[in-house]
């Protein structure tokens, strides 16, 4: 492992940082800060809005890694749809303006432990896997739609299809869960009517 570190340091150098690397680090810090506020703030809707900042920061990180397609999909799916769905749910519960002192599950420390463990595992794996890989910013872009599409549909078709089956299963599950409840309710009301 020390060999690969030396190799990486030799070819690019860890200390001679370029502008893109500095930008990457700064955006990363902003994203991290926004994520921290998201999970610590007592104002529910503010948490959802800070999540927008965190997800947007992540999109910028993808952009800096030249993965343009992934970046826009991130904005489209997460900022444009998932957060809207979250806000919709929060508004349905009439999320109050101001602090909600009881918005705490009491699992603060276990949650922190899980988060740190997950982060450590991910960082370790990513660092180990891409230790000597560098993105050539001057050459042709390596994360264009064309490249992403070719890699996805030539080399990773099976995982891609497996994922879509997983999503389909989740969809069917959601339909079944919501229907069973509705059936039970109508059955209950009918029975009530007979009595």
């Amino acid at each position: 492992m020390t060999g690969t570190v030396a190799l990486a340091a030799q070819s690019q150098g860890f200390l001679s940082t370029s502008g893109v690397e500095i930008a990457f680090l700064l955006v990363g810090l902003v994203t991290f800060g926004a994520a921290l506020v998201t999970v610590t703030t007592k104002q529910l809707v503010h948490a959802a809005l800070w999540l927008v900042v965190a997800l947007g920061g992540l999109a910028v990180e993808y952009l800096l890694l030249t993965a343009e397609f992934i970046a826009w999909v991130q904005v489209l799916i997460y900022v444009g749809s998932v957060v809207v769905l979250l806000l919709f749910g929060l508004m349905l519960t009439k999320a109050p303006i101001g602090r909600s002192p009881d918005a705490d599950s009491g699992n603060r420390w276990p949650a922190l432990g899980v988060a740190v463990a997950a982060a450590a595992a991910l960082v370790w794996i990513v660092v180990d896997a891409f230790r000597t890989t560098w993105i050539d910013l001057d050459g042709a872009p390596q994360g264009t739609t064309k490249v992403s599409g070719e890699i996805l549909f030539r080399h990773w078709v099976l995982p891609f299809e497996a994922l879509s089956v997983l999503l389909l299963a989740a969809l069917v599950g959601a339909v079944v869960l919501s229907r069973r409840k509705a059936d039970a309710e109508t059955a209950g009301s009918k029975a009530g009517g007979k009595r």
Partner: protein, 321 residues
């Protein structure tokens, strides 16, 4: 140095378009609505047919007191208009108006960029609806969110159909690949895209979230002065963006019967303005759809139509290859 100058000039050009076209459409709306309803409309400001009415409106908005309700979430309330308006400015940068590099900034995955950023604009309405501390505003926000969730999907599917036809997701690339027979081929997708876009902008007949006669302008109830003007401006900027996108994706952008070289941008502008006229026309002539009708239209009509269009595109694409 000339590179920097080029970028600055392009951004300034996009900004000028962003300032001029929405106002022009606002003025057209005054006039078209007046004519269609057989009334005069504002006729005095400026002398000739009240051309300065929009300027007068702007001055009026600037003079009004900027009120933030006592119970509102102050910062989010004040931030919301900017969140609603800025995405449209960003989208304009990526819309090509002519052949070559007549575009603010060519984006590789341009189609995804514009759809993604347009979706962000709705967050502004949601923030406004929640932060106003007003039940009508909250209802408006809820309706906005429900409408976005319903209409985002058909819009994406229709856009995907064009991307399949062109074999690229870059906006200039899509217009480059355009042939006249794409219009009949993609017409269903085009209609779905335009309709879903109208719904996303909350323009009549899809203006249930702002329905002024029932929930008093929904999310914007508590806004006054410049902040309210910004919301109005974002609606008109949204019309420009939607019509420009429909032009670029489904009507061939700068392609025209003649004069495609050099005058291509005029074709883009003409098609965009005709579509904007249709948007205004629909406002005057169609009654508002009820909330359940809105949802039903999206889920049972538009999505199946968009899927059928994708199937058709795929079949034609495979057969002709």
């Amino acid at each position: 140095m000339s590179d920097t100058l080029d970028v600055v000039l392009r951004l300034v050009a996009v900004f000028v378009v962003f300032l001029v076209l929405p106002l022009a459409i606002g003025q057209t709306e005054h006039k078209v609505m007046a004519h269609m309803q057989g009334r005069l409309g504002p006729m005095y400001a400026g002398g000739f047919h009240g051309w300065a009415q929009l300027v007068a409106d702007g001055v009026k908005f600037a003079q009004k007191e900027d009120v933030v309700p006592a119970g509102a979430d102050r910062r989010i309330f004040q931030l919301a208009p900017a969140v609603a308006l800025l995405p449209y400015l960003l989208v304009l940068i990526a819309i090509p108006v002519g052949p070559g590099n007549a575009v603010g900034q060519a984006v590789d995955a341009g189609l995804f960029f514009v759809l993604a950023v347009m979706g962000v604009g709705v967050l502004g309405s949601l923030m406004a609806g929640w932060a106003s501390a007003n039940k009508f505003s909250l209802l408006g926000g809820l309706r906005t969110a429900a409408q976005l969730l319903a209409y985002e999907l058909p819009m994406l599917l229709a856009a995907a159909s064009v991307a399949m036809a062109a074999g690229t997701v870059s906006l200039p690339g899509i217009v480059d690949a355009f042939h006249w027979w794409w219009v009949p081929w993609q017409i269903v997708g085009g209609l779905v895209f335009f309709t879903a876009g109208l719904a996303e902008l909350q323009r009549p007949p899809f203006d249930m979230p702002v329905a002024d006669s029932e929930i008093i302008f929904g999310a914007y109830t508590e806004y006054t002065g410049l902040r309210f003007a910004l919301f109005l401006l974002s609606e008109y900027a949204g019309i420009v963006v939607l019509c420009g996108l429909t032009t670029v994706l489904f009507l061939g952008g700068w392609h025209g019967p003649f004069g495609a070289d050099g005058l291509g941008w005029l074709w883009t502008l003409l098609k965009t303005l005709v579509l904007a006229f249709v948007v205004i026309w629909l406002r005057v002539s169609y009654p508002r759809l009820r909330e359940d009708q809105l949802q039903k239209l999206a889920w049972t009509v538009l999505i199946p139509l968009a899927l059928a269009q994708i199937a058709l595109t795929g079949v034609v694409k495979v057969v002709t290859q």
